[in-house]
């Protein structure tokens, strides 16, 4: 469980994180979505006690991160896979982590296996790793302490499609067995597939949050009829918003069942009746963040 309560972080006159509140619940993968510079990383650093908030509070498992005893045993964190000493081997990075957290060295080998780094690769210096290998190492580091909570900033960056799929399975499995997962991304398609809940942030402010299904719903119904003018009139009379599509048919802001009922009442013969395809998170994302993104360019 992660709770952010009215988090704000200012740098001079610039507000990087602006009155952000959310809750990340166990059992679900929560996606933290936003364009670059929207405040995702700053928010995650505040959650982990690395950046002090100007105001507001953040709690992980009921207490501020910095007050968790041996936090690595509770919360797995990956904020920047490239933030590793380039002269250290991947295995050594994990062994230092295991040593700090006081867990057996055996788990280092199991984590390397899990993320698919071979024995030989683990003996190479991190400086020689590709970004994808660093991400795998970072995920191994986050899971090392056998945590209940995962906080991952752009973990899919640099992973190949197979790696992304592997990570998706891993996170969903982790969450569906009671773990709490917060992962950020600007890879929209990826987060749409992996997340159960979404928090969308733009220019430091939360612009949408909730269950993915709820956020994606509201696309309405597409309906085609023999007499579309009559149908539009009937829908209008029922107080339902409808719009004629250039390709023929109507886009109606209502559930298919309600549209069908109104059509039946008006005696209009329907040719096609279906829920509109999900607009996709990308459309929603662009729509929600467009004003912010534009202003950012102008600034």
């Amino acid at each position: 469980m992660i709770t952010a309560d009215r988090l704000t972080r200012r740098y001079g006159s610039f507000t990087a994180v602006d009155d952000v509140s959310f809750e990340v619940r166990p059992g679900l993968v929560t996606g933290f979505l936003g364009p670059n510079g929207a405040g995702k990383s700053t928010t995650m650093r505040i959650l982990c006690g690395l950046t002090p908030a100007t105001s507001g509070t953040a709690h992980v498992l009921g207490s501020p991160f910095a007050q968790l005893p041996n936090p690595g045993r509770h919360v797995g964190v990956l904020l920047d896979a490239s933030a590793q000493h380039s002269g250290r081997t991947g295995r050594e990075v994990l062994e230092l982590g295991a040593m700090t957290m006081g867990i057996g060295r055996a788990r280092v080998g199991r984590m390397l296996d899990l993320v698919g780094l071979t024995e030989k690769e683990s003996r190479r210096r991190v400086g020689a790793y590709s970004l994808g290998m660093r991400q795998r190492l970072g995920i191994a580091g986050a899971l090392l302490g056998d945590p209940q909570v995962l906080i991952l900033d752009e973990p899919a960056n640099g992973l190949d499609p197979a790696g992304i799929r592997w990570m998706r399975d891993l996170l969903q499995d982790f969450a569906h067995h009671g773990g709490t997962v917060l992962l950020s991304s600007h890879l929209l398609h990826e987060i749409e597939k992996v997340a159960d809940e979404l928090i969308v942030i733009g220019r430091g402010r939360i612009v949408a949050q909730g269950a993915k299904e709820l956020l994606l719903r509201g696309a309405g119904t597409v309906v085609r009829a023999e007499d579309e003018t009559a149908l539009a009139t009937a829908l209008g009379a029922a107080g339902v918003e409808a719009e004629r599509l250039a390709t023929g048919g109507l886009s109606v802001m209502a559930e298919p069942q309600a549209v069908g009922r109104i059509a039946a009442g008006a005696g209009v013969v329907l040719v096609e009746l279906r829920a509109a395809e999900s607009r996709g998170l990308e459309d929603m994302f662009l729509e929600l963040t467009a004003p912010d993104a534009r202003e950012e360019v102008a600034a």
Binding site: A66, P69, A83
Partner: protein, 271 residues
């Protein structure tokens, strides 16, 4: 929630830990942190090479001392010959211990595993001091080896006399130098800046002291090199200790405290 619904390669290790009361996971003991920090000094190429170079330099100086002159050296002479260069170079190990976290950006991981940053800073200090002691032991061993060599191959008398006061003074000098390195690194959080400051500032101070007459009386109290000189000569008097104390306060304690405050207040960022 059935266990077999989601297939993964190794489900046993990725499943979240069952919620557990805080009491079952205790905090990180300080000694463990210090051990981790000690290992960090040694597990990178840069760190290893630095130590190897220091070891080679020490051996080289002993070789020179052995071949120059008639070979009759007291053990104390040999020991001081090894400790002096070590006291100059070894603090770089301390500087790197403190600055590498920031230049290599590992602070991000270090402070998420132990958010109590002062403890990490003090663990670095302790581990650097431990390195100092370990190297002192090594230099004693090398000095003894050199003396044995002198006795065997150059027929030296083999004077093993060692003034306990000088021995203690040499250890103290080494430890203070290590602490100064960690302090400068912690204060500046930048490897080149800390190294330059560590080597250049005392020189600048003594140059200023040489030119400004009014500084001449003050200098022995604030210049660490001057104040620590008698440690290797033996016979530290009351005023010598007082001078060492003030110089240590200025060059070791003040930057260390300032550095720890800075680290605690800093925002830890990845870029």
């Amino acid at each position: 929630m059935t266990a077999q619904t989601v297939p993964t390669a190794r489900p046993d290790v990725v499943r979240p830990a069952a919620p557990r009361p805080d009491a079952t996971v205790s905090g990180i003991p300080f000694l463990r942190l210090a051990l981790v920090e000690w290992r960090k000094q040694l597990d990178t190429r840069a760190g290893r090479w630095l130590l190897i170079v220091i070891g080679l330099l020490t051996a080289g100086i002993l070789a020179i001392m052995a071949f120059v002159g008639d070979g009759n050296r007291t053990f104390a002479e040999l020991l001081i010959g090894t400790v002096s260069p070590m006291a100059i170079l070894l603090p770089v190990v301390g500087i790197l211990a403190a600055t590498a976290e920031w230049s290599q950006r590992t602070a991000l991981v270090t402070f998420t595993l132990e958010p109590r940053r002062t403890r990490v800073g003090l663990a670095k200090l302790l581990s650097a001091l431990a390195s100092g002691v370990a190297f002192f032991g090594l230099s004693m061993a090398l000095a003894a080896l050199a003396q044995l060599g002198l006795m065997a191959f150059r027929g030296a008398d083999g004077d093993w006399s060692l003034d306990g006061e000088i021995l203690g003074g040499a250890v103290l000098l080494l430890l203070l130098s290590m602490a100064q390195g960690v302090a400068f690194g912690t204060l500046l959080l930048n490897t080149p800046a800390a190294i330059v400051a560590y080597f250049a500032l005392p020189t600048v101070l003594s140059i200023v002291g040489a030119f400004v007459a009014s500084m001449r009386d003050v200098l022995p109290w604030i210049d660490f090199t001057t104040a620590s000189g008698p440690l290797l000569a033996g016979g530290m008097g009351g005023e010598d200790w007082a001078r060492l104390a003030t110089a240590t306060a200025i060059w070791v304690v003040a930057p260390l405290v300032g550095g720890l405050v800075r680290v605690v207040r800093s925002e830890v960022r990845s870029a």
